[in-house]
């Protein structure tokens, strides 16, 4: 359908206002909510792939995500009644002591771009706050971010806190940020490290499908 292609194309260009208008038009024309949402996710998927391949950079991701938000805001009231469910639910935050959020926000945008529901815990998040949020929101995954070598150690405490709370088996723990490596992920017993936001979203979808 042309209008769905147009939504995807305009989202990729970051044309937020156009996307908003097109989504409204599509709704008015009676196109299924699920299909409209699909066109938004399709556009964001293209941006994610291009981001992974260094064909686009953070600014392009940000404007595309903003356009997607404009579209999903319009769809939101109709999602539940049309039986459209999120792919999964994720709690995300930057770990305690670390106030940096651009990386965490990028991952959040990419996760939403894959149709996941994301609960953003912000920055400076204590291990017990991750546990509490995961229980309260019945999350499948938690994503922990750190920019500093001096704060990445908190991720190990997060893993321990989930063990102690007895919910480690129920929740996948994903980690990321500049100093993080696969070796570190293995050492602390987290479930996945991904080097960029788009790959993180792919991994999260994979976890939700299992």
């Amino acid at each position: 359908m042309q209008i769905l292609n147009d939504i995807s194309e305009n989202l990729q260009k970051g044309k937020a206002k156009v996307v908003k208008e097109l989504v409204q038009t599509a709704l008015n024309e009676g196109i299924a909510v699920k299909e409209i949402l699909g066109s938004l996710l399709d556009g964001m998927g293209v941006i994610g792939e291009k981001f992974k391949n260094n064909e686009v950079y953070v600014p392009e991701v940000l404007v595309a995500a903003r356009a997607m938000n404009m579209g999903t805001q319009i769809l939101k009231p109709y999602l539940a009644e049309n039986g459209v469910e999120a792919v999964g639910r994720v709690c995300i935050g930057t770990v305690k002591g670390d106030l940096h959020d651009i990386g965490k926000n990028l991952v959040k945008m990419m996760l939403e771009g894959k149709g996941l529901e994301v609960i953003d815990l912000g920055t400076d998040v204590a291990p017990e706050a991750f546990v509490k949020a995961a229980i309260e929101n019945d999350c499948t995954i938690i994503c922990c971010s750190a920019l500093l070598t001096t704060t990445m150690g908190v991720m190990e405490e997060v893993v321990k806190a989930f063990n102690e709370a007895g919910i480690r088996e129920k929740v996948k723990i994903m980690i990321g940020g500049a100093p993080i490596t696969q070796e570190f992920c293995d050492k602390i017993g987290a479930d996945a490290y991904t080097p960029d936001a788009a790959t993180a979203a792919d991994k999260a979808v994979e976890f939700c499908k299992r």
């Binding site: 950079y57 953070v58 002591g97 926000n105 704060t151 150690g153 500049a178």
Partner: protein, 335 residues
């Protein structure tokens, strides 16, 4: 040869008998080192080859808000997290893409001059230079917040150009003051890199940042000063651009990001490298013995033909064991 002469030779890509080196510390790591060595002046023994200071608007702690520092640009930095040296922007000073909201910064010329004079008085025989931190992109995002700064690069280009022009104009005034003093170089701090690739990508960097850096480099070079540029992360994509606009030395050179052999071969005869010893991975995680081996191998790659200042890739953070710092510094002195 004095230390200054050795650094100049290195920057001119001439191999010297000794490899110049440098190290600096975060406030917290310096304290750790003082506690470990029980010597407030522990670093005197290792005296590096560089002597410099950076201007970035003198962030001063707010009397009514602990661990929050306001600079001369009107930006408040929250340092209540683990990072006590820089912090994060507390709230954007410019809330919309409207150039009339630009707050003219306070140019504290008296203090800048005092610091220049002090720096020169204390330089000894080292290579002495002065810098502007947060010199372009970082100043932009400190005004706007990182996400809006990047978004406006696409949605409000004219506004971003106007704001960057103002930032550049201010910096040129600071450079003119620096140029009145006999410094050996001028240093610019501005992070453009991520762990992989550039934050804004090379095309937007070329559109927005490059022309202004070129202006600032040219002004610095007017008096024959060397130009040194700091950027964390991966900016290999723009090495040729930086060489083209006159950069002499690039600082950080994170070995977990760059293939040192490759960059030395491709750019090493035209661009000097300062850094290469990883604060992000090696200094934190390796043993003193392993570190010595890493330094030895790194020097073997980088020393050839000059163009190299051996140093940690960043101010050493507080999670680096003091034993590693001492081992590193002793190894540095060998070359």
């Amino acid at each position: 040869m004095t230390k200054r002469e050795i650094v100049i030779q290195a920057l001119l890509h001439k191999e010297t008998l000794n490899v110049p080196y440098h190290a600096e510390f975060t406030l917290q790591e310096y304290e750790n080192m003082v506690n470990y060595t029980k010597d407030k002046n522990f670093f005197d023994e290792y005296e590096g080859y560089l002597h410099y200071a950076q201007y970035w608007g003198y962030p001063t702690e707010l009397p009514d808000k602990k661990e929050h520092f306001k600079d001369d640009f009107g930006v408040t930095w929250n340092r209540s997290g683990a990072d006590k040296d820089i912090g994060v922007v507390d709230n954007p000073v410019i809330s919309e893409p409207d150039i009339s909201l630009y707050p003219t910064p306070y140019l504290n010329e008296k203090r800048i001059r005092e610091e220049c004079e002090n720096l020169l008085k204390t330089k000894g025989d080292k290579f002495c230079f002065v810098g502007i931190g947060f010199s372009m992109f970082e100043r932009l995002w400190s005004y706007l917040g990182m996400e809006d700064a990047l978004i406006y690069m696409i949605t409000d280009k004219e506004f971003v150009h106007e704001l960057l022009d103002k930032i550049c104009e201010f910096n040129l005034k600071v450079i003119d003051i620096f140029n009145e003093y006999p410094f050996d170089g001028i240093y610019f701090g501005d992070d453009w890199g991520q762990q992989r690739g550039m934050i804004m990508g090379a095309p937007l960097w070329r559109e927005f940042i490059k022309p202004r850096m070129a202006k600032m480099y040219a002004r610095a070079k007017k008096n024959g000063k060397f130009v040194l540029q700091h950027s964390c992360g991966d900016i290999q994509e723009i090495f040729e651009d930086l060489i083209e606009i006159g950069l002499d030395c690039y600082q950080t050179v994170q070995p977990e990001i760059y293939n040192l052999t490759e960059i030395k071969e491709k750019y090493g005869d035209r661009l000097a490298f300062w850094g290469t010893i990883s604060t992000q991975q090696d200094l934190t995680n390796k043993t003193p013995e392993e570190l010595k081996e890493i330094i030895k191998k790194t020097v073997a790659i980088m020393k050839k033909g000059g163009g190299f200042i051996l140093a940690p890739t960043h101010a050493i953070p507080q999670d680096v064991p003091p034993e590693n710092v001492i081992a590193m510094l002793n190894e540095f002195k060998k070359y």
